[in-house]
């Protein structure tokens, strides 16, 4: 043993085997069930959209880091992969590929790297990409192919509407929930995923399996998803109890649209969610309330993406005002 071979460093001398990379790939694994359902429902179209989004996200991250920022290339850390997957999951399966490429560029370039890369972005990059596309190309972004008969066919032949879209349109034109009952997919269909909608938000069961995996692997905690869904259920429940003819029941609200995908995969994004449990609960309540307000009273049938982005903007503030209780202090939360 020579003196040089000994390492001197400060404690602790051991480290848990968790790494950022492992966390990221756990999220990817958790998205697999939902991806499989989308393949089953939309066929090869879902695969093409997903592949296009993932490849362009990775490619843009590489190109921007290598040639524009001339910084370390971090496409291996799994975060661009997740951005690509989540962006794809928020798109309809029939969307033109060039739009996916534009959305990916916006997600990675503006949503993530312009802020300084992983860990510095304020907004969820995938949602930034999606909302950019939604505002720029509203028609294409809300043209929902329904389940295809032949899974190998490109699935832009049949178009349907999302359950939330049906409700929004129906109610806006003076219908009641009773009138619409026959048009809304059954609860079972929504659980399994045989409805219209974005690629990844189809099957409630598949998303729940992924969500439970993330909870078991301790990538996320229950605070955000549970609080967000409970807030939505309570709020829509109150409206439904008051007037069930003009408001859909909470189960429809939870199982349809991006609620589950948002609750388990988007709102829980480590970088853009609060860092204390107290903060997470405030954050999730905010998302739930804004989502319901948009869904019930806004122009868009769905509001999860907007709600998450709006609450993302509050995260630095939440982190400042909702601190953990310091050991040995009487004050519950300190205001700086």
């Amino acid at each position: 043993m020579s003196a040089q071979s000994i390492i001197i460093s400060a404690s602790p001398h051991v480290h848990s085997d968790r790494t950022s990379k492992k966390l990221m790939y756990d999220v990817v694994i958790a998205l697999i069930p939902a991806f499989l359902v989308s393949l089953y429902v939309f066929g090869i179209g879902a695969f093409i959209v997903t592949a296009a989004a993932v490849i362009s996200c990775l490619l843009f991250e590489y190109l921007i880091q290598k040639f524009l920022l001339k910084s370390e290339v971090t496409i291996g850390d799994g975060s661009a992969l997740i951005t690509g997957l989540l962006l794809a999951f928020n798109l309809p399966s029939g969307i033109p590929i060039w739009m996916i490429v534009v959305g990916s560029l916006f997600a990675i370039g503006v949503g993530k790297l312009s802020f300084g890369g992983l860990g510095f972005n304020i907004f969820n990059p995938a949602l930034i990409g999606r909302v950019f596309l939604l505002i720029s190309f509203p028609i294409q972004m809300t043209t929902w192919p329904t389940a295809v008969e032949n899974q190998t066919a490109l699935a832009d032949a049949v178009t349907g509407a999302t359950p939330l879209g049906i409700i929004k349109e129906g109610l806006t034109f003076g219908g009641t929930m009773t009138d619409l009952a026959s048009k809304i997919p059954s609860t079972l269909d929504m659980l399994l995923g045989v409805t219209g909608g974005s690629i990844g938000e189809m099957s409630a069961i598949a998303l729940l399996i992924g969500g439970v995996y993330l909870l078991v692997r301790k990538v996320i905690t229950w605070h955000i998803p549970v609080t967000m869904l409970v807030t939505m259920a309570v709020m829509t429940g109150i409206f439904w109890l008051v007037d069930s003819e003009h408001y859909a029941n909470p189960l429809i609200h939870i199982l349809s649209g991006g609620a589950l995908l948002g609750a388990f995969f988007m709102a829980t994004d480590l970088v853009t969610s609060p860092m204390t449990k107290k903060g997470m609960i405030i954050f999730a309540i905010g998302i739930g309330v804004i989502t319901v307000v948009i869904r019930l009273f806004g122009a868009y049938p769905e509001g999860v993406s907007f709600a998450i982005i709006i609450m993302n903007a509050f995260v630095p503030l939440i982190n400042t005002y909702f601190k953990p209780r310091r050991f040995g202090s009487k004050i519950k939360s300190k205001i700086v």
Partner: protein, 442 residues
């Protein structure tokens, strides 16, 4: 449901390889190196000179203030040098070097210490014995123990906590001591209860030491004032504040001491040393040290003379294995990496841990992904990511406002950080500067 502290904490792999190994006696070293700064507080004052003959147990450096401690010669022999030597802190410190007299029988006799239950000394004499015997906290903090015994009359201390938690992975010194010296520890507790006029004592032991819990429960049967509390296994439960919270649900106020909530905490090793000092007038010159590591051949627990070079211990367990990259004085969470094996065992050395390449090297720090894991595990309710950031940027005032000084340096944040960020390194750095700024202000 077992008791534990409510906020934060981690579960590192326990790796208590030596928990079944009886404490063996180390051969008497040929030379001992006794540093004079082995405790928190003012270094002791050397009262011997070169070429002086010293007896075993003779005071060689005496206490030089209230928060200071006597140091005794662990062997009979001759002082060969008063030298500066690197100790486990990594700095050169004054050391008294003593060559063991191979002819002196007192060095090699195996003294028997039959159990003495009766406590004959008065409160004042007990305190004097603790001062004279150079007892310091053996859990690692090495705070002079008599300071915690010399209470003012208006104190409202009502409970003595005995720390048998040993939450550091690998270490088993306290565990073995509790197994082998249970009766002595109980008498030691009674001595302290007598000295402090306290009616209640609780021994806190984590539930991964079920045998020790059983043995101590058995040993304390006759005394209704002494309870044994089995605790959930969670690091850093051995930290004083967390232990008090776990057992008594009392919270030491920010910047306060256990005494502020009516509690005095002593480590089991200290209790045994106090027992020896009070019942046998035996000064603190040896302690139990766990010598361990995954690749160490005969990892075990030893009675080691203070001042024994660590290389003697390593030799005893079969030498350093190939690929050794780090030698730690203490446990893996809070121990100090030492520069070489010439460093001597001091009163605060609870273990020597040998680590190989895989565990020794740190991961490359990556961007903070703001996962909040450091916030969740911090037992003090701090935000390590923020404190690191503030220290890094030189914003010490804000770091101070964010309670950086209450950090207990348990290392849970650095342990869990998935981006391998050196959180505790920066927090320590920030603490040092904040401390200096505060001293400058006063």
């Amino acid at each position: 449901m077992l008791k534990t502290f409510p906020k934060g904490g981690i579960h590192p792999p326990e790796n208590k390889i030596t928990s079944g190994k009886e404490i063996k006696r180390m051969p008497v070293p040929k030379v001992v190196y006794v540093p004079i700064a082995q405790h928190i507080g003012i270094p002791s004052e050397i009262i011997v000179d070169r070429k002086d003959k010293v007896l075993k147990g003779q005071v060689i450096a005496k206490t030089s203030g209230f928060v200071s401690s006597n140091i005794h010669s662990p062997v009979a022999g001759t002082v060969t040098k008063l030298d500066m030597m690197i100790d486990s802190s990594g700095y050169k410190k004054q050391c008294i070097v003593i060559r063991t007299d191979q002819k002196d029988e007192s060095n090699f006799e195996e003294k028997e210490y039959p159990l003495i239950r009766e406590i004959s000394l008065s409160q004042k004499d007990i305190l004097q014995h603790v001062i004279d015997s150079g007892i310091v906290g053996l859990g690692g903090a090495t705070f002079p123990s008599h300071v915690k015994l010399d209470l003012k009359n208006d104190n409202h201390v009502d409970c003595l906590l005995i720390n048998g938690v040993e939450c550091e992975p690998y270490l088993t010194a306290d565990h073995r001591l509790m197994m082998e010296k249970a009766d002595e520890i109980i008498v030691g507790i009674q001595i302290l209860m007598h000295a402090l006029h306290i009616k209640k004592a609780v021994i806190g032991i984590e539930n991964n030491k079920k045998d020790a819990i059983k043995v101590l429960k058995e040993a304390s049967k006759g005394d209704t004032g002494i309870q044994v509390a089995a605790l959930q296994v969670k690091y850093p439960q051995g930290s004083e504040k967390q232990l008090i919270k776990a057992i008594l649900k009392r919270e030491v106020p920010k910047g306060g001491l256990p005494m502020d909530v009516g509690v005095i905490v002593h480590n089991v090793g200290t209790i045994f040393a106090i027992y020896q000092a009070v019942q046998y007038n035996e000064p603190l010159t040896e302690r139990v040290v766990t010598v361990t590591g995954k690749k160490i051949e005969n990892a075990s627990n030893f009675w080691v003379k203070i001042g024994t070079p660590i290389k003697d211990l390593v030799e005893q367990v079969g030498g350093l294995p190939d690929g050794t990259r780090k030698i730690v004085n203490g446990g893996p969470m809070m121990g100090k990496a030492i520069k070489n094996t010439d460093v001597p065992v001091t009163k605060g050395t609870s273990g020597i841990l040998v680590i190989d390449q895989n565990e020794a090297s740190r991961g490359e720090p990556k961007n903070c992904i703001r996962c909040g894991e450091c916030v969740f595990v911090c037992p003090m309710g701090l935000e390590p990511h923020l404190l690191m950031n503030l220290s890094e940027k030189g914003l010490y005032e804000r770091a101070s406002n964010e309670d950086i000084m209450t950090c207990i340096e348990c290392g849970s944040c650095s342990y869990v950080c998935p981006s391998h960020r050196p959180l505790l390194d920066y927090i320590r750095f920030g603490k040092n500067i904040v401390k200096k700024l505060q001293t400058a202000k006063n």
